[in-house]
């Protein structure tokens, strides 16, 4: 479970990116965050993954507050938290299978993995994760040869290899065509349910949120504008999220 409580961050420039943001994502749930440019969506994910340190608030992953941790303790806690972003960020010259298996490196602090090896058990598991995202047949192919949609699926398989409890997705379909975007959203929804993952996904595509989210959280000026099951989210409420951006 992911719990975000009163999360705040002001950038050195003076911009208040987050102002007491609250959200909870339960296991098996896909929560989509909608908001205009500069509303704090990406800052939110970066604070949760602790690539940014928030000024105040808590980020609890299965009860552990990440904001209080540093160094090795933070690294260990991060193992439960996988991140995928707009760009798949694969090592292009390695095979698809090796890219997926590297998701498990954090759990294998051995000399063999430090020297560039991959545990045999993780390679077997990686094949299974590739099967889950429908790309088992591309396991031996170089990652650099994949299409955008395929690469994003491999990034998701790499996240699964990490065996996380929480998955953060920062605009995972932003650079994909509509069909590939639908595929990825269907996959995230299925994985949330089947793997009992808590998935928090930032999106710009409102229609995808209406189709795939269990809940939709609207963010405006770093605060929660609404947090509702997708059936209860009105078009008007969504439109208001983007009003300040249009102005």
């Amino acid at each position: 479970m992911l719990e975000v409580r009163h999360l705040s961050l002001r950038y050195p420039s003076g911009t208040q990116a987050l102002a007491g943001f609250d959200a909870v994502v339960r296991p098996g749930e896909l929560v989509i965050v909608l908001g205009g440019n500069g509303s704090g969506k990406t800052t939110l994910l970066r604070c949760i993954s602790r690539t940014l340190a928030p000024d105040a608030g808590e980020v609890r992953v299965n009860g552990t507050d990440l904001t209080r941790l540093t160094g090795e303790k933070l690294r260990r806690a991060r193992l439960d938290l996988a991140v995928i972003s707009q760009h798949a960020a694969l090592v292009r010259r390695r095979s698809v299978l090796a890219n997926v298996a590297t998701g498990a490196l954090g759990r294998h602090p051995t000399l063999w993995t430090a020297l560039g090896g991959l545990p045999a058990a993780e390679l077997v598991a990686a094949e299974r994760y590739l099967g889950e995202v429908g790309l088992a047949h591309l396991a031996r192919q170089r990652a650099g040869t994949l299409s955008g949609g395929q690469a994003q699926r491999v990034a998701i398989a790499r996240a699964l290899a990490q065996r996380p409890r929480v998955l953060l997705a920062d605009e995972p379909v932003a650079s994909l065509d509509p069909e590939a975007a639908e595929d990825i959203m269907r996959l995230l929804r299925r994985l949330a349910a089947e793997e009992n993952l808590a998935v928090l996904c930032v999106l710009h595509q409102v229609e995808l949120a209406y189709r795939y989210a269990d809940r939709v959280v609207g963010i405006r000026e770093g605060r929660v504008a609404f947090d509702l099951p997708r059936e209860e989210v009105s078009r008007d409420a969504v439109r208001r999220l983007y009003l300040s951006e249009a102005a």
């Binding site: 991060r78 991140v83 960020a89 694969l90 010259r93 498990a104 954090g106 993995t113 560039g116």
Partner: protein, 271 residues
Amino acid sequence: MSSSVVPQGGKAREGGWSGLLGSAGKLAVMLAVPLIIVQSLIVVQARPQDLITGIHGMADIIRRATPPDFSQIDSMFWPALETIDIAIFGTIAGVIMALPLAVLAAANVTPSRPLYYVARGVIGFTRAVPDLVWALFFVTAVGLGPFPGGLALAVHSIGMLGRLFAETIEHMDMAPIDALALTGARRLQIFTHGVVPTVLPSLLGISLYRLDENIRASLVLGFVGAGGIGFQLLTAMNLFQYRTVSLLLILTFVIVLSAERLSAALRAKLA
């Protein structure tokens, strides 16, 4: 009316000034270039007429150098192998020492700022001192032979390779590295699984190019007593054995050309 005239006049004056400055700059360049050429001719004491008066001497050397003394080719095999091995040793030792220094000297992966400056300093110093000077130093330190030649090339290669390796690492795509860091992988794992596979083909290409350069450099190192064909060449010249000299020059040509071709073919495969 007047308001439109003033800016136009201003523009005209601006154009005039910049035009004037541009012309002055061109004039300065036109004067400077011949001056630089003339001063270099004076400093090197260039005497083109000596080339004409010396033509008989050159013809005499060519006559005495032909035909090449192929009867000595067996005895030249070892110095030739020595020359190639000096370069191979120098390149491999250079790569081994340059790689960790390059990691420390690459701004995007260095573990600490002081180490970054130390590594940059070592790379800069080893590069600034020519390989011939390193060879003189090592000949003094460990005596005559191919070993000081190999050491000289290794140390000089640290500088050349370290800089190019560091630049390659600095220009790589950091997204896969950041993604690996977010999975909870440790620093060394990120390096071996992310950085190395990303930059390895480029580093191999640079190393092959360096091997090609080092083979050419190792030919000269023999002149200061660091073994190989260069040493044989110097000895033959001192003993006026010009037919041996011409044989050694043919061997040099074959080695350099082969190394160049092989290195280019391997680098093309890596690209």
